[in-house]
Symmetry: C2
């Protein structure tokens, strides 16, 4: 186990009707709020009405930024910063999923930076000061509600990149599983794949001796495998939605990565290129790539890890031959993601063979020459995974 510092600053208010704490929690930090949301589903579901009613009753002034894209764009961040500056905003309140929260985080950081906010994303400038953020979550997926990172897309440069700073973590997040009852099947599936992918990125780390962390990761995977299909079958199953929601936060709040050292992710960066070029749903890209990534990296050295995964997560008989267990584990992963209704190939989601080389090149360039630390991926590796995913 490697050394680590564990500090989880975000307070979580979890459960039905926890929204009632919203007014008091915001007032600890500010009184002029920028309310940020996405395509408007929160208006259809009533969450928007609930939130704005509480803000009004609490005497909190607010301004709005709607229309945040599923892959939030730097242009929307710029819009948010403008509204925030014009109105002396002192608190950012995203109500939505990871995109809305990510967008809010970069608005909060960009507010204090005089240059172009994209500079912060590409690392040309460092985040130094951040407006306080509190989130109301409506989608179980990215875990952005309990971490300090954000991923922003620039459609002009075809880049989708991450930025993080400890102060970008929300001060609090409200997680009411009933808010996810209306999430469409497609997004529930993609969200589940996203949670699983975050867990895989920590689980397949190459660091031995972080036994405890790996058992926790397996617990999260089991929760996704159990409750993903239930949430699809019965969208208002509270138990399923609650387990997925809490798994989404725990997958990325540090718990699974503490003790794993500097672990650079593998599948996320190569997925980001798909979204940057095609604006596809993040979780769908992850689900398609993951089993092919597993097949590509599996070798004699890491075989033990795939065996662990197969036996502990999928309950494969441990007396079987090790390679057989590994292959079965990968197949079960593929089948499971398919059974969630997620397309199985990049072709099905409209990605063209002729763009693969370009995207593989970007993936490697955007990640300092190779992708990930588990088994560092070269240009040829990334291209091979893309091709296997077609």
């Amino acid at each position: 186990m490697k050394n680590f510092d564990c500090h989880i600053p975000t307070k979580i208010f979890f459960g039905e009707n926890q929204i009632q704490v919203l007014g008091d929690e915001i007032k600890k930090y500010g009184s002029r709020v920028l309310l940020v949301y996405g395509g408007g589903s929160i208006k259809r579901t009533g969450v928007y009405d609930t939130v704005t009613k509480i803000l009004k009753e609490s005497g909190i002034e607010f301004w709005e930024l709607g229309g945040v894209e599923p892959n939030p764009r730097i242009t929307t961040v710029e819009k948010g910063i403008k509204i925030a500056r014009e109105n002396n905003i002192d608190f950012i309140l995203p109500v939505g999923g990871g995109s809305t929260i990510d967008c809010s985080k970069v608005i909060a950081a960009g507010y204090f930076y005089e240059g172009e906010p994209w500079d912060l994303v590409i690392g040309k400038a460092q985040v130094e000061k951040v407006l306080p953020i509190g989130a109301v979550l409506t989608l179980s997926a990215t875990g952005s509600e309990m971490d300090s990172g954000a991923v922003i897309s620039n459609m002009e440069t075809n880049q989708k990149l991450g930025v993080g700073h400890p102060d970008m973590a929300p001060k609090f997040s409200i997680l009411d599983p009933t808010y996810t009852f209306t999430v469409p099947a497609k997004q529930t599936a993609a969200g589940t794949a996203d949670i699983m992918s975050h867990t895989f990125e920590a689980y397949f780390s190459g660091v031995k001796g972080a036994f405890l962390q790996d058992r926790l990761a397996e617990g999260l995977l089991k929760a996704c495998i159990k409750y993903g299909p239930i949430a699809l079958e019965k969208p208002d199953d509270y138990e399923a939605r609650a387990n997925l929601m809490w798994a989404s936060s725990l997958a990325i709040n540090g718990l699974l990565e503490f003790g794993k050292g500097t672990n650079r992710w593998s599948v996320h960066p190569i997925q980001h290129e798909l979204s940057a070029y095609y604006d596809i749903t993040h979780g769908v890209g992850l689900a398609i790539l993951t089993p092919n990534w597993m097949e590509h990296v599996l070798d004699d050295e890491n075989l033990y890890k795939f065996v662990e995964y197969g036996v502990n997560v999928w309950g494969i008989d441990e007396s079987k031959e090790k390679h057989e267990i590994a292959r079965e584990a990968i197949n079960k992963t593929r089948e499971f993601l398919k059974c969630l209704g997620i397309p199985g190939t990049l072709r099905e989601i409209g990605i063209k063979e002729e763009d693969l080389e370009k995207m593989a090149k970007s993936a490697v360039e955007n990640n300092g020459g190779s992708v990930g630390t588990y088994k560092p991926l070269s240009y040829e590796d990334v291209l091979s995974i893309y091709k296997a995913s077609m």
Copy 2:
């Protein structure tokens, strides 16, 4: 899953040589420190020298309270408060295990309370203000390094009771697994039993639908089962010590109990009576009582939970008859604790038959008429568990 608020305020610095952060971390809160420790093992191991050297080099003045008992006494708390008041202490630094940290927490709370500090323990007065605390952990067991509770004994009244307040959680804790290399086998075993018992208290809760939390708990139990024996066999095995140390914190920082509602513990309170009357090692008492408690509470309604435990933690074949799995799981628990070298009966640790009724009566009285919420224990239940443990 029940509603919950999750807020984990303690920063953890985990790993070898993390002690180097001590000076800077303390200076965020104070400059006049009360250094609290136990029987002096930290002087033999060199941790005392390391800590005091850092304090001196950081220009931090400190006063000392040594000799905290394994079951820390209210008289020692009083001594600490006196030193703290006389010297305008503004920060408490326990260096040791749970006893030292617990004692420090009540010194920190009692500092601001004008009456007898025992009032705070028995609930005659409420904790309102607390001096900041930072801990250096030298024993993996109670988890006090990452929670907000403390257990204090009063040998005059034969009471061992708990008190808690959010501000009693350490601001930071330094967890260096190498500091536990010198922990004697007996204490390593008792500590492992303590971690497992905390996990059981959360795991056997009666709340259905907290699936994820139960899988996390199983992960902790597996870590104890794997690494307890290794730490005994090879006391300087870093991986074993690291996994046990992190398990000790995660078992009690809330992670396993979030979503479980108001869960009153079962085995801890009936163990506390043994320590209150006999001053025995907490973890030893827990280890003796736990399998007998399991046997006593097992019924048709909670059978499923013992089956889950047996299959997921002990790898018992799930095709076996359910009652058989449950019995086998309990037997494996008993055997495991025995293989750690912990005595199997209360008689062996000097407890006398004639005191059982008195202690059972106290257990029920100190817990509002019945013990625990999993299957509330009456006087007869507690007595029966004590008798089965003789």
